[in-house]
Symmetry: C2
Subunit: 197 residues, 2 copies
Amino acid sequence: MKLYDLELSGNCYKVRLFAHLANLDLEIIPVDFLGGEHKRAPLIELNPWGELPILVDGQRVLRDSQAILVYLAGTYGGAAWWPVEPHLQAEVMQWLSTAANEIQNGPAAARLVDKFGYAIDKADTLKRAARILPLLDAHLAKHEWLALSRPTIADCAVFPYVALAPEGGVDLVPYPHITRWMDRIQQLPGFVPMPGL
Amino acid sequence: MKLYDLELSGNCYKVRLFAHLANLDLEIIPVDFLGGEHKRAPLIELNPWGELPILVDGQRVLRDSQAILVYLAGTYGGAAWWPVEPHLQAEVMQWLSTAANEIQNGPAAARLVDKFGYAIDKADTLKRAARILPLLDAHLAKHEWLALSRPTIADCAVFPYVALAPEGGVDLVPYPHITRWMDRIQQLPGFVPMPGL
């Protein structure tokens, strides 16, 4: 099973983190992102969107970090991480959408500006971060983990770009419940960090 | 089963559309959106995010249109719309992320500016639409439906804000495969439209 990977990508880190937590074997294939390797053949044929990560498992090819988490957890990780009951899947799904939208376009996008010089409206990213982080903090004031009473792929999907928020100039000190949740994640057996954490 | 609903919301329409296609009974509860009913009690207690739709099924309360689709399809709609195999769920999931991020922040956000006067950077929404729609069109050149060989909740999640794109000044004429896919959706048994389609 191959993961086409960029070490500094929080989206790639979602997958590496989950693979470590669930003790899965992944062959990590570093991609020359600055050289645009993901924008040309053969990678652009694996993912026409020109994005990382890409997972290849035999004949199966997946883009989108959330979809890769569903695949890995459902296929190899067991129901602990991605339940089989639809009403529990829906609880997790709420946070996969949050990871794909509010977190990606908030703290993750702020980091793209500050760390990688992307031409994105920084003020807009900060406004989005200032909306989502208090909602996340309030939720975590009442819940140990995001979706269920145990860690799931919801936590793996939301954690990376929240934890990396300071690299985008977003201060996490005002959010004590987020901070304690991040501590809990970092104490999970098998946890691995990434640069910037 | 109650859906707190706004008729003009494409996110609410995702759920109404699916319920019709899968022949589910939903009690539609119109919300006074302009009056801010979703921002105060009791709705803000059901969804602290202050957004619609909200689904209430007995003791279960869900926000996020994608999560609601997973719940309804998995619980009541049968495996046709949301498969049980993780590798097929992952195929669908790729498009649920697309609906939550690229479609929401592209064509859907462009419509929010033009139709409802939201203070969003219109140029940014058009740029995002101009990236995602050709990718969608190229995918649909080779696939009848988005995720599997049959319609799934992926199609229900992506269709509304693509079909409504002209209300945001986004022309769909350059995308013949999207147009034909929209025709196929509109010919499904049980299809219902919404204002603007």
